[in-house]
């Protein structure tokens, strides 16, 4: 047994994980008590990590044009096809789409290959979908993509403001840290600003249920109010900022009074003013914001509206203060550090950063190779797929992400992929919605297999460690990219034997010629203090927050403490914000505002989390949260099925009627893909509208219509693992697959009546029906197929609300022999909870042997006494002989009746 410290691959909190490996299997995980992100805590997803592993469902062979090939063939085909397209159409027809799931080293190599040597700027990442607005906001205000805060600030704050963040579900460990801090410090307050009442409200002192998209009004109003109430930090503004007057003028103009803001945000004015008062009167305020702010056509402005308030109040650069963007993905920040966004070049340098092109070019040059860096930024995610659609980009290499699901207007994205001449996909999972579009499939290693670093939301660099060998022929991404680079003729620049060498190069680049010069401030991202670790030092690397330099060898907990910013002037910028509503417009045809987001127990497209059956228990099916009034208007019911329709697609899911929703607004999860359900991809309901500055899609502001899915029947089918080769029931109007241990659950519904279920089952399933029960007048049926004593399938036709808890059935699917007792309870799907009476002795009164034996032990040692107590033997008397022999057997155990009071004992 060995234990290794690694980092969780899910959200941006970046928790440390201690993993136990026994006999080649990762058997357990627990929170790393020493990791500064979590100090031993783990959330539900993190603590199920070991349950998501195993070779089943993994990609294990490279494929070219649908055929399994050797790595050599696959690598050569990749290189040749890229080169052919470059030769014919130019460098800029080649593109890459990366992921916040990649490790920094993978990211670095990919960025270096595409921008440095293939000479194309079109390398973007799915971080565009969650982080881009926050990045743009920071850069406008601070001159760098730099989160000023750290997690300790959440504990040191006197006021925490959650904006557009359901922290309790999406960053559970941080939420727990706040909860504990709040218990320790009763004066600490939490304000939640969110259109939805989420679980994060549990410990909130104030909740503002704002109208979606009105955050900029709210924070402009706050700025105006602070000015009006003389709650500004004039000294700070004067010494360390610029642009305040313009910012305040815009704020006053657009959100000058409480009444105006309350009306714009559709909230109670008194609550609003309470928030303003709290914010203005505390110095130690952290505003924690996330996708609810970022995923907007004016997301960057919203971020700056928040940052403005922090700068104006001097609530930054202090313990427990600052505007804190919380990242969605485990390595969104690491990706940005290497330049993984299309508008970045490398190491936090942009194309327009003075001297950057030359600097990077010189750094990457080798003896015989000169990089051919593009001159200007490339296409951001949505624009990239539009370029593919236009035929401008002809080759796309996708790594560790699924744009067929996650990008808005997914139908259009799929059409673009369909016509793209060359699609290369590096992927862990054998089945995703993207793979059908791939010409070349490259099997990649995954969490627990790969080695490298990630950077979490507080700039903390941690190691992910490889503990298990990748399955089959899966390889690490950095290796795959390097091997292709070699076959493209760039071997000299990609001669890496181990990720530590890549990290070392990355660290050197961050410090390369990184000194302040007139008009050109020092680059904040500098980890030159980590240069020269060697493999041992790299392997032993403890979590550390950047910058890490000679002057800050142990990292930097907090930025901007000295009020010095990374802008040309060294001052932070306040921006004049003019609030704008969502661009996706509501109409009579699409009257409801659609909000999208994550749920507690799933991660992205579920390729990993769905492998842990217990993570399916929280929300087993795709769903939509609907306000009771909207449900009533649309004629949909709680737990019924419904369809959301947008201009370009539809979404079928189960309705959850919820007072937590605002009237006129619907929430759907982002996780379900075509691998798991008929039609519940949130992205098809979202138009491809982006923030003009950040390129981030407006994913939280769809416009939809709601209608019931008119189902004739609903059914639940459980099928043993490996029992079927086809799934003909997927022709139903609604289906969802829910993985369980040893079986799969299918939730089905159809608009057409099913006349002959037993005949249908015969056609659907290889094992014939063994047990069935029916109530035809109410359309109910339950049935099961048992083969050689093993449960092969189980079906219930009827509303899912009538399902038994499925744990009992799941256990039956994992038994090699079904007992008679269990078989009799199969259709009920549970033990009935009644005491086991044993084999029936008295048939007339159905009295069991155990009951009788107990009565005998209680002192009923005659047939008459038993009859008087249990009625056994009093009818036909057939059981009296058996009663007598039971009495003989049990008499020695019988307790004497209570002695009479007169007896001398």
């Amino acid at each position: 047994m060995t234990q290794a410290k690694t980092t969780c691959p899910y959200c941006g909190v970046g928790c440390g994980v201690t993993a136990t490996v026994e006999a080649g299997t990762l058997t357990a995980v627990e929170g790393d008590r020493e990791h500064p992100a979590n100090f031993g805590r783990l959330c539900v997803k993190g603590s199920a990590l070991h349950e998501t592993l195993g070779d089943q469902g993994r990609l294990t062979r490279p494929q070219v044009d649908g055929v399994d090939v050797s790595w050599e063939t696959a690598l050569r085909a990749t290189a040749e096809r890229i080169n052919a397209l470059r030769a014919e159409h130019g460098n800029q027809t080649v593109a890459a789409y990366l992921s916040g799931q990649l490790l920094t080293e993978d990211y670095y190599v990919a960025n270096k290959l595409f921008k440095g040597f293939l000479g194309t700027p079109h390398l973007d990442t799915n971080s565009r979908l969650c982080m881009a607005s926050a990045v743009a906001g920071y850069k406008r205000a601070f001159g760098a993509d730099a989160v000023p805060c750290n997690y300790e600030d959440l504990e040191e704050a006197e006021l925490i403001v959650l904006v557009g963040s359901n922290l309790a579900w999406n960053h559970p460990v941080l939420y727990q840290r706040i909860k504990v801090a709040k218990e320790r410090n009763p004066l600490m307050r939490l304000v939640v600003i969110d259109p939805r009442v989420t679980d994060s409200c549990e410990i909130a002192d104030l909740y503002l249920g704002v109208k979606p998209g009105t955050d900029a009004y709210l924070f402009n109003g706050l700025l105006a109010w602070m000015a009006q109430r003389r709650k500004l930090d004039s000294l700070y503004l004067e010494r360390h900022t610029e642009g305040f007057d313009e910012a305040l003028a815009a704020a006053k103009q657009t959100a000058g009074s409480i009444a105006e803001v309350a009306a714009a945000c559709d909230i109670d004015p008194e609550r609003l003013e309470t928030f303003y008062y709290w914010f203005a009167s505390q110095l130690h305020v952290v505003t924690l914001y996330s996708q609810g702010v970022n995923q907007s056509s004016s997301g960057t402005d919203k971020c700056n509206a928040i940052i403005n308030c922090h700068l104006a109040g001097g609530k930054i650069g202090l313990p427990g203060a600052g505007p804190f963007s919380i990242t969605g993905q485990p390595n969104a920040m690491g990706g940005r550090e290497v330049g993984g966004l299309a508008n970045q070049l490398a190491a936090h340098m942009d194309y327009q950063t003075p001297g950057a092109l030359d600097l990077v070019s010189r750094f990457w040059a080798t003896k015989s190779l000169t990089p051919t860096l593009p001159e200007a930024p490339g296409y951001k995610a949505v624009a990239l797929f539009e370029a593919i659609e236009r035929g401008e980009v002809k080759a796309l290499w996708v790594m560790a992400t699924n744009p067929a699901i996650s990008l808005p207007d997914a139908a259009r994205v799929r059409a673009a992929l369909e016509k793209c001449p060359l699609v290369i996909v590096s992927e862990c999972a054998a089945h995703t919605d993207l793979l059908p579009y791939a010409d070349i499939v490259l099997p990649a290693s995954g969490w627990s297999e790969k080695d490298g670093t990630v950077t979490n939301s507080e700039r903390c660099i941690s190691r992910q460690r490889g503990m298990l060998p990748p399955p089959g022929e899966a390889r690490h991404d950095w290796w795959i990219i390097g091997e292709v680079a070699k076959r493209l003729g760039f071997g000299e620049a990609f001669n890496y034997a181990h990720p530590w060498e890549i990290f070392d190069e990355h660290a050197r680049l961050s410090g390369f010629e990184n000194a302040a010069a007139p008009g050109s401030p020092k680059r904040l991202f500098d980890i030159s203090g980590l240069v020269g670790l060697g493999q041992d030092g790299y392997d032993a690397l403890a979590p550390i927050q950047w910058p890490v330099t000679k002057t800050a060898p142990h990292g930097t907990a907090r930025l901007f403490e000295d009020g010095e910013f990374a802008t040309a002037s060294g001052r932070a910028k306040l921006l004049a914000i003019h609030p704008q509503g969502p661009e996706q417009a509501l109409s009579s045809a699409y009257p409801l505002r659609l909000n999208t987001g994550r749920i507690r127990d799933q991660w992205h497209t579920m390729t990993r989390t769905a492998r842990a059956p217990r993570l399916m228990n929280h929300r087993a099916e795709p769903f939509m949260d609907v306000h009771p009034d909207d449900a009533h208007t649309a004629g949909v019911t709680d737990q019924g099925l419904a369809v959301l329709t947008a201009a370009k697609g539809e979404f079928r899911a189960r309705v959850r009627v919820s007072n937590a929703q605002r009237r006129g607004e619907v929430f759907v999860p982002i996780h379900w893909t075509d691998c798991f359900t008929q039609q519940a991809r949130s992205s098809v309901l979202i138009d491809s509208i982006t923030d003009p500055l950040s390129g981030q899609p407006e994913s939280k502001h769809g416009a939809v219509a709601l209608a019931p899915l008119a189902t004739d029947w609903q059914a639940t089918l459980l099928v043993a693992e490996g029992a079927i080769e086809s799934t003909p029931w997927c022709a139903s109007a609604y289906w969802t697959r829910i993985p369980m241990r040893g079986c799969q659950r299918w939730q089905l519904a159809n608009t057409q009546p099913e006349e002959a279920w037993l005949t249908r089952l015969k056609a659907w399933l290889p094992t014939p029906v063994s047990v069935w029960s029916k109530d035809p007048t109410h359309g109910r049926l339950r049935a099961a197929g048992v083969e050689n004593g093993r449960l092969r399938w189980w079906l219930m036709v009827g509303p899912p609300s009538e399902l038994p808890g499925l744990a009992w059935l799941e256990a039956r699917f994992n038994e090699t022999t079904l007992s008679d007792t269990h078989r009799r309870r199969l259709l009920a799907g549970c033990d009935d909870g009644a005491a086991d009476v044993g084999p029936i002795v008295c048939s007339c009164h159905q009295v069991g042997q155990t009951t009788i034996a107990n009565a005998i032990r209680e002192g009923d040692t005659s047939v008459e006494a038993l009859g008087a107590r249990l009625a056994c033997g009093t009818q036909c008397g057939s059981c009296i002989p058996e009663l007598k022999s039971l009495i003989e057997e049990e008499r020695p155990n019988a307790r004497a009746k209570q002695p009479l009071a007169t007896e001398v004992v």
């Binding site: 409200c201 249920g209 937590a660 047990v771 029960s773 007048t777 048939s843 057939s878």
Partner: protein, 435 residues
């Protein structure tokens, strides 16, 4: 309400018949403080009353003869009850209140109870009187059948009801080399208790065990060999079955002759009122030989209630009198359990809920009308039978729980509890806004 004793404490109570009904009556009387002091019981069989229901397991060799014993002769003596066995009452003179047995013994009664039971009903076909044709009613029959089983050869059981099937199974089990045919006039076995599905399950089970079952069999005649013993059975459709023995188990005929001869009102059996009194106030009739409201009896449950009424009447305690009550059939046919009540087949307006596990031999079927159970058929797993019966008697509306109804009481109770919970809970959607 009847409170008058029909039999004063010092009068002589004579009971004709020492079967299960008679025995249960005596058990009830002797416990009673105001019991008639003089009780005489006359039984035609040589053994004191025994549990006739256990004849089948006895024949099958699953039980020893003494297991059938209810009470031995000494017990009667201890209870001060005169027991006369092996004598058959031949005449009843109501004027002189005297009965006379076949051995010439005469007894004068103050009150008389006729509990003479029944005998197998014999089909009216030629040859039914031949040697080798048996009933299956008493210990003697059981002995005879045991001999047949051991001898082997061919046996034909006439009657595919409970008794016939028990006899056939007993023969098959007991014999090493015996071929047993069962003839059933109806298209299905136990047609008064089972629906088609259950009857088929039973037929399949018994056929697998080795019985030959012929349903829809119209008996034409029995054929004798040269010695006058039965040799073959002929069916109306021309089929012919070899038969070295024939066991008749196609219903019962009440032993009402004594009452009829004595001039008591009789129809199919001796007519009684709700206190089991015949047309002669000094005479009661009990059990399979009596008839109340046009009904005659064959199962123990109503007879046990008759015994309670009669014992109370005789001892002068108050009783509401006997009424026919709904009853459920609870049977165990050769290891196959059955519980049924209500109509065997669904009719218009019935909603049918059913559970099937043919391989396991489990079958349940409920007939519902307006959410109430009107009939149930449980085959194999009968554990929930009494509960369904209770619900039917109570007229409970089970519509809200029908999803769990086929699975039984505990499942329904869980559902009831959870629905009650839901009812009590106000929907909690956590909309509370902390302030």
């Amino acid at each position: 309400m009847e409170t008058t004793s029909r039999c004063s404490a010092n009068s002589h109570l004579v009971i004709i018949g020492n079967g299960m009904a008679s025995h249960r009556l005596i058990e009830a009387l002797v416990k009673h403080p105001t019991r008639p002091q003089r009780i005489t019981v006359i039984g035609a069989e040589s053994a004191p009353a025994y549990n006739r229901i256990l004849l089948s397991p006895l024949l099958a060799g699953e039980m020893q003869p003494d297991a059938l014993t209810l009470r031995d002769a000494n017990w009667y003596a201890d209870q001060d009850v005169a027991l006369i066995l092996g004598e058959k009452v031949e005449t009843l003179d109501r004027k002189s209140q005297t009965v006379t047995t076949d051995s010439g013994r005469s007894l004068v009664y103050d009150h008389l109870i006729i509990a003479t039971g029944s005998r197998p009903a014999l089909p009216d076909v030629p040859g039914i009187e031949l040697e080798g044709v048996h009933g299956f009613r008493d210990l003697q029959d059981a002995d005879a059948l045991e001999a047949i089983a051991k001898r082997g050869d061919n046996a034909v059981v006439i009657g595919g009801g409970l008794l016939g099937l028990e006899a056939a199974e007993g023969l098959r089990k007991r014999g090493d080399d015996i071929k047993v045919n069962v003839l059933q006039r109806s298209e299905r076995l136990m047609n008064r208790q089972l629906d088609t599905t259950a009857a088929h399950l039973l037929k399949d089970t018994l056929t697998q065990r080795g019985l030959q079952i012929i349903t829809g069999a119209q008996l034409a005649r029995l054929e004798s060999d040269t010695q006058g013993r039965v040799a073959a059975v002929h069916l109306a459709d021309g089929r012919q079955l070899n038969a070295s023995s024939v066991i008749v188990a196609a219903g019962i005929t009440p032993n009402a002759e004594l009452g009829r001869q004595a001039g008591l009102t009789t129809e199919r059996a001796i007519v009684v009122d709700e206190f089991l009194t015949t047309s002669d106030p000094a005479i009661s009739a009990l059990g399979e030989c009596c008839q109340f409201n046009g009904t005659t009896y064959g199962l123990v449950e109503p007879i046990w209630r008759q015994v309670e009424v009669l014992a109370a009447t005789l001892c002068g305690t108050s009783t509401q009198g006997y009424t026919d009550a709904p009853s459920a059939t609870k049977l165990k046919i050769s290891g196959v359990a059955l519980y049924a009540f209500g109509p065997t087949e669904a009719s218009a307006g019935h909603e049918v809920l059913s559970y099937h596990d043919p391989e396991q031999g489990d079958y349940r079927r409920l007939l519902l009308r307006d959410g109430q159970i009107e009939g149930a058929m449980l085959y194999g797993d009968t554990s929930q039978g009494p509960w369904y019966f209770e619900q039917a008697l109570a007229g409970a509306d089970l519509n809200a729980y029908r999803q769990a109804l086929l699975f039984g009481a505990a499942d329904v109770e869980v559902l009831q509890a959870s629905m009650a919970d839901q009812h009590n809970d106000t929907p909690d959607l956590s909309t509370s806004e902390a302030a």
